[in-house]
C-alpha cells in the first residue's frame, strides 16, 4: 500500500471528534474520491495526512515510512503534493515563482532565498506548465489569472514536488461546472500519466462518480462507505448524507454542465439536486 491510515482521530479544542478512528489504504496509482456532508471531516482527514493539522491519535504511513510522530516533516511533506480549494497561491508572485515554490522542500535554503533554483527544476517547471496548458502565462502574476488557470498553477506546483501522492481538497468548489470538469479531468490524467495516487475531497457526488472509480464516504468522522462509485445507491447516499430523495440522481445528464445555472453553488446537503 502506498498510503496507509490507521485509526486516525482528530479532536479539536472543543472536544468534538472531527475524525474518529479512520482506517484507509490506498495502493500506488489509485485515485480515491472522498465524499461526505459538510463537517464530516473530509478536509481534516486530508490535512492530517500531511500534518497541516496535527492528528490526536492514529498513524499515517507513506510507502512504509511513518508520517505521524516524526520531526523531519519536510521530507514527508515534499512527497505529498497538495491542491487546495482556493488555490493557495501567492497572488503577487508570478506563475513561475509559484510553480517553483513546489521545489522548496528540496532546494537548499540559500538557493531558495536567492531564487536560484537548479536548472533542472526550472526546466521541469516549464515542462509542467506546458502540460497544464499555461506556457503562455509563465511571467504573469497569479492574481491576473482566472480561477481555472489558478488551479492549474496549483496543480503544476504540486506536480513539481514529484510527489508519490496528491492530496486534493475540494479542487473544484470555487470553479464553474465546465471548468470543474476540465480540472478534474486534468487531475485524473496527470495521475494516470505518472501513476500517482490521490485523495480527492469532493462535495459534488455526480462529479466524483464521473471521474473516480473508488469512493470513500465519510460521516461524522467515520468511514461509512468504501467501494466502487457505481455502488453509490440511494441507500448508501442516505447513510453518508442522511435522508433525502436520492432517486433523482438516476436522471443525471452528461451535458448538463452547459445549462446548469446552479452548478457553481455549494450544494450542501443536496449534492445531486443541482444536476438533476
Amino acid at each position: 500500500m502506498l498510503l496507509t491510515i490507521e485509526g486516525l482521530t482528530k479532536r479539536y479544542g472543543t472536544g468534538d471528534a472531527a475524525l474518529n478512528g479512520v482506517d484507509l489504504a490506498i495502493p500506488a496509482g489509485e485515485v480515491v474520491g472522498l465524499i461526505g456532508p459538510s463537517g464530516a471531516g473530509k478536509s481534516t482527514l486530508i490535512r492530517c495526512i500531511n500534518r497541516l493539522v496535527e492528528p490526536t491519535a492514529g498513524r499515517v504511513f507513506l510507502a512504509g515510512d511513518e508520517v505521524t510522530g516524526r520531526r523531519d516533516l519536510r521530507f514527508m511533506r515534499r512527497r505529498m503534493g497538495m491542491i487546495f480549494q482556493e488555490f493557495a497561491l501567492v497572488e503577487r508572485l508570478t506563475v513561475m515563482e509559484n510553480v517553483l515554490s513546489g521545489r522548496l522542500g528540496y532546494v537548499p535554503y540559500w538557493r531558495s532565498l536567492l531564487r536560484r533554483y537548479p536548472a533542472a527544476d526550472v526546466q521541469r517547471a516549464f515542462a509542467t506548465l506546458d502540460r497544464v496548458g499555461l506556457l503562455d502565462h509563465v511571467d504573469k502574476r497569479a492574481d491576473a489569472l482566472s480561477g481555472g488557470q489558478r488551479q492549474r498553477v496549483g496543480i503544476a506546483r504540486a506536480l513539481l514536488q514529484q510527489p508519490d501522492i496528491l492530496l486534493v481538497d475540494e479542487p473544484t468548489a470555487s470553479l464553474d461546472p465546465k471548468t470543474s470538469r476540465q480540472i478534474m479531468r486534468l487531475i485524473c490524467e496527470v495521475c494516470a500519466e505518472r501513476s500517482l495516487a490521490a485523495v480527492v475531497n469532493m462535495h459534488d457526488v455526480a462529479l466524483a462518480q464521473m471521474f473516480l472509480s473508488r469512493i470513500v464516504g465519510l460521516r461524522q468522522g467515520r468511514v461509512v462507505y468504501d467501494g466502487p462509485s457505481n455502488g453509490l445507491t440511494p441507500e448508501v447516499l442516505t447513510v453518508i448524507y442522511g435522508e433525502e430523495d436520492w432517486t433523482r440522481s438516476a436522471q443525471r445528464d452528461d451535458d448538463v454542465a452547459d445549462e446548469d445555472v446552479h452548478g457553481a453553488r455549494p450544494h450542501g446537503r443536496e449534492p445531486l439536486a443541482a444536476v438533476g
Binding site: R77, M82, V90, G105, S112, Q161
Partner: protein, 276 residues
C-alpha cells in the same frame, strides 16, 4: 400610467403593527457621560496647562507682530547654508529610516502572533513599545551624550524610535495576511523561514513600502528638530536664529523647511501610489 402590468400603486401590503423598541436608558446615558467626562478632563487640565494665560496672545501682540512682520521680509542672504543644513537633515532621516526598516523587519516578524510563539511575541512587543514610547528628541539627548554632538546622534535617535514603530506597523500587516498561501507553501515541505519569505513577505510588501515612505516623510519633519539638542541638521541653525532674535533669518529657514517637507511629502505620496 398605460402599462397595465405595473403594480397598482394603491395596493397596500398590510404591515403588522409592532412597537419599535426604545434604547434602554442606560444606553442613552452612556453618550452623555462620555461628553461630561471629556469636559471634566479639560477643566482639570486648565490650570496646569496655564490656559488662563490665553490673553497673553493679545497682550504681547507687539512680539507677535514683530515675528509676523519678519515673515513678510525673510532674509535669504545665507540661503546656501540653510539649504545645505536642510540636505543634511534629509540625509539623517534617510539613514535613520533605512536602519529602522532593516532591523525592524526581523523584529516585526517575531512580533506577529500568527508567526511566532507567544513567549517571543509578548516580551518583544513590550520592548518595541518602549522604543516607541520615548520621543526622538529624548533619544537624541541620550545619543548626544553617548556618541557626541552631530548628525550621527540624530540618526541613532531616529533609528531607535522608528525601530519600535516599524516593528508595530509591519507586524500588524503580517497579522492581517491571508493564511492560505502560507499553508500552500508549507504543504510543499518548505521550512519556517521559507514560509515567511515566500508566503508572507510578498503579501505585505505593498503595505510595508507604503509605511516606510510615510515614516520617511515623518522622519524628515522630526529631523528638523533634532538639531535643537545638538543632533545635527537645520534644527540647530533654526534654534540659534530664534534665540538671537534674528527673526528674518528664522523666517527664511522656516520657509526652506516647509518647501523641503512639501517636496518630500509629494514625492513620497506619488511613489506610494505607484507601489500600492
Amino acid at each position: 400610467m398605460t402599462d397595465t402590468t405595473a403594480p397598482d400603486p394603491n395596493r397596500t401590503i398590510a404591515t403588522p403593527s409592532v412597537t419599535v423598541p426604545q434604547h434602554p436608558l442606560s444606553r442613552r446615558m452612556r453618550g452623555w457621560i462620555g461628553w461630561l467626562l471629556l469636559i471634566v478632563l479639560l477643566a482639570w487640565s486648565w490650570n496646569a496647562a496655564e490656559m488662563f494665560r490665553v490673553s497673553a496672545l493679545l497682550a504681547d501682540w507687539r512680539n507677535m507682530a514683530e515675528f509676523g512682520a519678519a515673515f513678510l521680509a525673510p532674509d535669504f542672504h545665507d540661503w546656501d547654508t540653510y539649504l545645505a543644513d536642510m540636505v543634511v537633515t534629509v540625509q539623517i532621516a534617510l539613514w535613520g529610516t533605512a536602519l529602522a526598516v532593516f532591523f525592524g523587519i526581523p523584529f516585526a516578524i517575531l512580533c506577529s502572533s500568527n508567526i511566532a510563539p507567544v513567549w517571543i511575541v509578548q516580551p518583544l512587543r513590550r520592548m518595541m513599545d518602549a522604543c516607541r514610547a520615548i520621543n526622538e528628541i529624548v533619544f537624541a539627548l541620550m545619543f548626544v551624550v553617548a556618541v557626541g554632538l552631530g548628525p550621527f546622534a540624530g540618526v541613532m535617535a531616529l533609528f531607535v524610535h522608528n525601530l519600535g514603530i516599524f516593528a508595530k506597523l509591519f507586524s500588524e500587516a503580517v497579522e492581517a495576511i491571508d493564511p492560505r498561501p502560507v499553508e500552500g507553501i508549507r504543504a510543499t515541505g518548505a521550512g519556517r523561514l521559507q514560509e515567511v519569505i515566500f508566503g508572507v513577505i510578498p503579501q505585505v510588501m505593498p503595505l510595508w513600502s507604503s509605511f516606510t515612505l510615510y515614516r520617511l516623510e515623518t522622519n524628515v519633519r522630526s529631523a528638523t528638530t533634532l538639531g535643537i539638542v545638538g543632533a545635527g541638521g537645520i534644527g540647530q541653525t533654526l534654534y540659534e536664529s530664534i534665540r538671537s532674535f534674528h527673526y528674518a533669518e528664522t523666517a527664511a529657514q522656516v520657509i526652506i523647511v516647509i518647501l523641503a517637507v512639501i517636496a518630500i511629502d509629494m514625492a513620497s505620496a506619488r511613489i506610494r501610489k505607484i507601489l500600492v
